[in-house]
């Protein structure tokens, strides 16, 4: 059974259709790359996978449960299982970095204060953010905010992670760090969807890729398949040609 199964997903905003018919699956432990031009609706797809956005029609299954008609309350267990890494961090600016990271731990785990502290230190060290612990988000650079947001999403060790352009705007060193982190998560069996415009990263971490175009899936394939067929739609997209 696929961990994520999207069937005939359609969504429009103010009468303007963004998605007409999108279907794809993500298997357990797999990393799926979700590609497509800017504004094609990649973030909308990810948001819909945790119920932040409701589809107009179609179905979304998370581990076999159809979530598109779930209430906010029913979505809570889905959202603890599936983490969404916001494109811009979406940190709580009234809290310090420490408090931002403690938030999901206090809500969803029974860890005591010292365990929370340890977990946060561990996580901050992993992302090279030791010095940021007591700063407020507004004191951080955009790239740092992004990494804190990433840390906050995965700190409760979700089974599925949806990355929304986690490497955009990061320097090469941190881009590699994030790639390594995603690969480490994959080794632990985490399933993921990776939205990106950063092709080297996509080829490094993804098992399979899906290309969105005009509100539907235009091409799909494993990384090997893509490499074999240089004239395919995905390859042309990757090379920057008009699809």
């Amino acid at each position: 059974m696929a961990v994520i199964d999207v069937k005939n997903f359609a969504k429009s905003f103010d009468g303007k259709p963004v998605h007409k018919n999108v279907s794809f699956q993500v298997k357990e432990g797999e990393c799926l790359g979700l590609l497509g031009g800017s504004g094609v609706g990649k973030s909308v797809v990810l948001r819909s996978l945790i119920g932040l956005e409701k589809p107009d029609s179609g179905e979304i299954f998370i581990e076999g449960e159809e979530i598109s008609n779930f209430s906010e309350h029913q979505l809570i267990p889905i959202r603890t299982k599936v983490a969404y890494v916001f494109q811009n961090g979406a940190l709580f600016d009234s809290m310090s970095v420490f408090e931002n990271l403690a938030y999901p731990l206090r809500e969803h785990t029974k860890l005591n204060e010292s365990e929370i502290k340890n977990r946060i230190h561990e996580q901050l060290t992993e992302f090279g953010l030791e010095d940021a612990e007591f700063k407020s988000p507004s004191q951080l650079s955009g790239g740092m905010q992004k990494r804190v947001g990433l840390a906050r999403s995965i700190i409760i060790r979700p089974k599925v992670v949806l990355y929304d352009e986690p490497t955009a705007g990061l320097d090469p060193y941190n881009t590699v760090k994030i790639q390594e982190m995603i690969l480490r998560m994959k080794d632990k069996g985490v399933t993921s969807v990776f939205v990106t415009h950063d092709m080297p990263s996509a080829f490094n971490v993804c098992d399979r890729m899906v290309l969105l175009l005009n509100g539907a899936v235009a091409a799909e394939g494993t990384v090997e398949e893509l490499n074999k067929d240089p004239d395919g739609l995905l390859q042309r997209f990757v090379r920057g040609e008009r699809a």
Binding site: L75, R79, F86, N88, L91, D93, P104, E107, R152
Partner: protein, 255 residues
Amino acid sequence: MNSYLSFLQVFGGASLLLYQSFHESFRRPLYFKLILEQIYMVGVKSLPLVLITALSTGMVMALQFGLGLEKFGGKLYVPKIVSLSIIREMGPVFTSLMLAARVGAGITSEIGSMMVTQQIDAIRALGTSPIKKIVIPRILACLIALPLLCAFANAIGVYGGMYVGYNDLGLDPQFYMQKVFQTITLADYMSGFGKTFFFALFIAVISCYFGLNIKGGTKGVGTATTKSVVTASIFILVGDYFLTKFFWIIEQWLS
């Protein structure tokens, strides 16, 4: 027609939000720390503004009535009239209007900014409820703080009247207070005080509603804040008429 529709929209949306908040307040966990924080923000921080408003209202009313009634030799009625209008109307309504401006604007712009920067989405994405984290603490804080602020305002307003009565009208403070206590009944007090619970709901729910339904980025935050204060004030002023009638019927019924 258009404004009629948008009124219905606000009314419906705010009622729904109130219903959801009520519904969710029975689900664990409730965040007491957030509620206390909001009581501090709403109550303690509004105290100076509310006290100044009440004091000057009481003083000005005593002065106006004192000067006006002096011609007819009615100066001795000042304690009665001033305290009655403060306790029944001016205290509760002015306190609520000040809070609608100060707290209502604050709530709408804060929640609105959180919407624009996706922090409300983050609350949801992290498996928590914005209603519980944001809306319920603000509603409860207003429900607790506004009546208390009104009680302070009533006392200070009456004191302001007494001070002017003594200073400018030559009324003995002891006489003044005696008259006040003779005049004001529990029914008078409660009919004013009781309104503040309704006004608190208007302010909190309307300002949260406008914050959560922001449209159009940062510019939308400004527009929504203005709308929120105007709407809450109108609800207070119009609601005041119906609540006065409502409490009047109850008074009749009880006596």
